[in-house]
């Protein structure tokens, strides 16, 4: 389970509110994400990929 103090402090540092009732939801979402992230270990060369970002070429050229 994700440490509640990590969540509280992380939100505090970013000036976000913390509601006790949100804690199980946030823990659950972060845990889902953490478990899903394990799939990346099957792709050792993932870091060779350039991240997809929205680039407005008309603005950048």
């Amino acid at each position: 389970m994700i440490d509640p103090s990590f969540i509280k402090q992380g939100l505090y540092f970013q000036q976000f509110p913390f509601y006790e009732c949100d804690l199980p939801f946030i823990q659950n979402i972060l845990l889902t994400m953490k478990q899903a992230e394990m799939a990346t270990s099957a792709f050792p060369h993932l870091n060779a990929e350039i991240p997809i970002t929205v680039v407005d070429k008309r603005l950048m050229v």
Binding site: I26, I29, E37, F43, I50
Partner: protein, 464 residues
């Protein structure tokens, strides 16, 4: 004349064009149904009867003058409430914006109005287009017309439920991680998630910029084609808009699927509810009997989708909502607030890693499309659930279970068409999705049209 409630545009347009049916009669008929059924179904947040009737009268007058605009002229259409509408409140299904009145239309709304649609109202949606059940504590929870105890899905559930109940002929949707396809599957209608950038998202409230798409929803594939014809096209106001020619989407509709190679990623066969699996297997057999060549295909990169989808949706949504989350946190439902705050707690390293995974998935799909023409899988792996009293947790559960099936399409930017495949043992619809290369909407509509001809919900469409 047969009951107007469930006719498609393809059936209505010739009647309107030949002046056998007045857009005013059609609009009044639909408004009467909204008045009768919507207090329970809650498919509209803001019905617009006066505006709709004025637009219908204008349409009628134009047609009488011989100025018929095309098949969408005079067609009653619902607009999802995250599309900006000039002078008309746009709530995004949120308590944050109960009285927000935009000073412009979304480009897609302008295009549809130019094609002559009649705007019935602003349709209900899951809060901030960030949930998948259709529950809405602020504007009323939309109910599934097939069984009121069940959810319609979301976030475009107001539109799909209205289509299933005959409270609109067409509806607009948006799809960031399944919001067109999931409710289309749950309500037994057709929904097209378009190629990223094909339909302008200018003037549509963002959920996650790099994934947001807009698209059509309808009771038939040919209606999707007609609606997409109006919605698609380059928009200089949208930096992600594609400058590509817009083909005639109805041109290939009747070509059939003989000889078409359809791949079924094994990824999409994991964890299916037995009812969904049974209906999907039957659909595969039917597609085979129509002449398609089907085979299972391994695309391991799809396993990156859940992580990538969560990291990007929650990360981008938390960035867009940062100020409101800090100043008006009580104006969010706890599940949506938690989803966004989780994004704030996810590091930028994970966000970038998720965007790297996207490229990996795009490459994997490109490779797959050298082997097959299109891919196919269930739209969602589970049966349409009944509402739970624990609706906050239920939404997060539905998002968690659907994300692996819906988000690969958003993450890779490809188009996907969700079609009904039948009813589960509870009598609720479910669906499957065809997905293809970027800008393969014409092919998907062709395949979907062939599938629709098998009448997967024959005589079963809800008569609310």
């Amino acid at each position: 004349m047969s009951d107007l409630s469930f006719l498609t545009v393809t059936e209505l347009a010739p009647l309107i064009k030949s002046r056998k049916l007045s857009p005013v009669e059609l609009t009044q008929h639909t408004l009467d149904r909204i008045e009768q059924y919507d207090p329970v179904l809650r498919t509209y947040i803001t019905p617009l009867p006066d505006i709709a009737l004025k637009q219908a009268k204008d349409a009628e007058a134009s047609i009488m003058r011989g100025q018929y605009k095309g098949p969408l002229h005079g067609i009653p259409t619902g607009i999802k409430d995250n599309y900006f509408t000039k002078g008309i409140r746009t709530t995004v299904g949120s308590k944050l914006f109960p009285n927000y009145i935009p000073d412009k239309n979304a480009t897609a709304v302008d295009k549809l109005l130019k094609s002559g649609v009649v705007m019935l109202g602003k349709q209900n949606m899951h809060e901030l287009a960030a949930g998948s059940t259709g529950t809405n504590p602020y504007y009323g929870t939309t109910r599934n017309p097939w069984d009121l105890k069940h959810m319609p899905g979301g976030s475009s559930g107001g539109g799909t439920a209205a289509l299933a109940a005959g409270l609109a002929t067409l509806a607009t949707g948006t799809d960031t991680f399944g919001s067109i396809r999931l409710p289309a599957a749950m309500c037994g209608v057709y929904g097209l998630k378009t190629t990223y950038g094909l339909v302008s998202t200018h003037g549509i409230a963002p959920t996650a910029w790099s994934l947001d798409t807009a698209g059509p929803m309808a009771r038939s594939v040919s209606d999707l084609a007609l609606m997409l014809q109006s919605m698609a096209g380059y928009d200089p106001k949208d930096p992600a808009s594609l400058k590509v020619p817009v083909p005639n989407y109805t041109h290939n509709l009747t070509k059939g699927i003989r000889g078409l190679k359809i791949g079924i990623p094994t990824y999409y066969l994991q964890g299916l509810d037995p009812d969904v699996e049974n209906l999907f297997r039957k659909a595969v057999t039917t597609l085979h009997s129509l002449g398609a060549e089907l085979k299972e295909i391994n695309i391991p990169e799809l396993s990156l989708a859940t992580f990538s989808g969560y990291a990007i949706v929650s990360g981008e949504a938390s960035a867009f909502h940062e100020k409101w989350l800090q100043t008006h946190p009580e104006d969010y439902s706890p599940d949506i607030r938690s989803f966004f705050l989780a994004g704030a707690l996810t590091g930028s390293t994970q966000y970038v890693k998720a965007q790297q995974a996207r490229r990996k998935m795009v490459k994997a799909l490109r490779k797959a499309f050298k082997e097959v023409d299109i891919l196919l899988g269930p739209t969602i792996p589970f049966k349409t659930p009944a509402f739970s009293e624990h609706w906050l947790q239920q939404n997060l559960d539905v998002v968690q279970k659907s994300m692996p099936f819906t988000s690969p399409i958003n993450l890779t930017g490809v188009p996907s068409l969700s079609v009904p495949i039948g009813l589960d043992r509870n009598g609720l619809p479910t669906g499957m999705q065809f997905f293809g290369k970027h800008l393969s909407e014409s092919l998907l509509l062709q395949v979907g049209h062939a599938w629709e001809a098998t009448q997967p919900l024959k005589n079963k469409l809800q008569k609310a």
